[in-house]
């Protein structure tokens, strides 16, 4: 009967690609949600040291960053490590006002949980880091996080 007539068309059937955009959109949304656009432009190099005993910082909204490292534009700013707060160079004396501004921006109840993340280049010497730590102590911002990359410490450079 005609109902059981064999399909006369030959060749491979076309694959339905109508759901392809949906899949791609799903991936797109995943990446849009999980990733964060870098909000500050970095002027200093912060190549982080490696460590294995690391913790993850949970509440990102309660973290303020201090960047320390040699400036990218060495011809203008030299090679000495500099401090960067938000999107400008700063000195140790600016840290107190930076921390109080960060505190003001948070709700009162959340202020004790605030963490200062130190993103320091691995070739920096401890002098400038110690100065920053002393300043943080003075303003009672005691929770700090030495930002590191996860990984084994390369031994050859260290004694």
């Amino acid at each position: 009967m005609a109902r059981f007539k064999k399909d006369t068309k030959s060749g491979t059937p076309k694959i339905n690609t109508a759901s392809l955009p949906d899949i791609i959109f799903m991936l797109l949304f995943f990446f849009m949600v999980t990733t964060t656009l870098r909000e500050t432009q970095l002027f200093v190099r912060t190549q982080l040291p490696f460590a294995t005993e690391v913790q993850t910082l949970e509440r990102k909204s309660l973290v303020s960053h201090i960047y320390i490292g040699p400036p990218f534009q060495t011809r203008i700013f030299g090679t000495e490590p500099r401090i960067q707060l938000q999107d400008q160079f700063a000195t140790v004396d600016d840290i107190a006002s930076f921390i109080s501004a960060e505190r003001e921006a948070r709700a009162e109840a959340e202020r004790p949980l605030m963490t200062t993340s130190l993103k320091v280049d691995r070739e920096t010497t401890m002098g400038i880091v110690t100065d920053v730590k002393q300043e943080l102590r003075q303003v009672n911002a005691l929770r700090i996080n030495y930002s590191t990359a996860r990984g084994e410490i390369p031994r050859e450079g260290l004694r």
Partner: protein, 190 residues
């Protein structure tokens, strides 16, 4: 008679979505904040009485000079051995009189525990490299985490990082405190 509605060609939709996807893949960074969290000591009150002196046997002096050389308890040491030495100091398995005392504490969920009174005193020079400083912090933290793992396995059968109950975590924390003290900054010279 129903007219045939023209279908919109959605074939290029995938291309557009791909383009956006690649844009976000390239421009965004998976920026997870990980690192070593520490508490700084509170600022010193000039009027406060000086803290009681800590016995010498309880202090584990770790010194890093400006050439990144490591000295532990007066002996030049390689960083590879730091974790082992630290662990031995904190545990003091043979009750060596030159190593830290232990205090018997009653800790909830653990019962009577020997808590080491050892304090790690980390001193560094202004010229020490940050990389070395982090490595030393990392080794010290690894030693303490190792002891915590041992205690946790013995009592709860789980590694410390696998514990989920906050009370158990706090119990282990008070049994094996993270006693790293950083000296007031000073120049130690060569």
């Amino acid at each position: 008679m129903a007219r045939m509605r023209p279908e919109i060609n959605a074939g290029s939709m995938a291309d557009i979505a791909f383009l956006l996807l690649i844009f976000f893949l390239v421009t965004t960074t998976m920026d997870v904040d990980i690192g070593i969290t520490r508490m700084l000591p509170p600022p010193i009150d000039p009027n406060a009485p000086p803290p009681p002196p800590v016995r010498e046997r309880n202090v584990f002096v770790v010194l890093v000079d400006r050439h990144d050389r490591l000295m532990v308890e007066g002996q030049i040491t390689s960083i590879d051995r730091l974790q082992t030495i630290t662990k031995e100091f904190l545990l003091n398995p043979h009750d060596d009189p030159s190593m830290p005392e232990k205090r018997i504490d009653t800790i909830p969920h653990l019962g009577k525990m020997e808590v080491s009174r050892g304090i790690i005193s980390l001193q560094n020079d202004r010229g020490t490299s940050y990389e070395m400083y982090i490595s030393v912090q990392n080794e010290l933290a690894a030693a303490i985490m190792d002891i915590r793992d041992d205690v946790s396995k013995e009592h709860f059968g789980l590694e410390f990082s696998e514990l989920r109950d906050q009370e158990l975590i706090d119990a282990i924390r008070s049994a094996v405190p993270m006693a790293i003290s950083e000296a007031e900054p000073k120049d130690i010279g060569d």
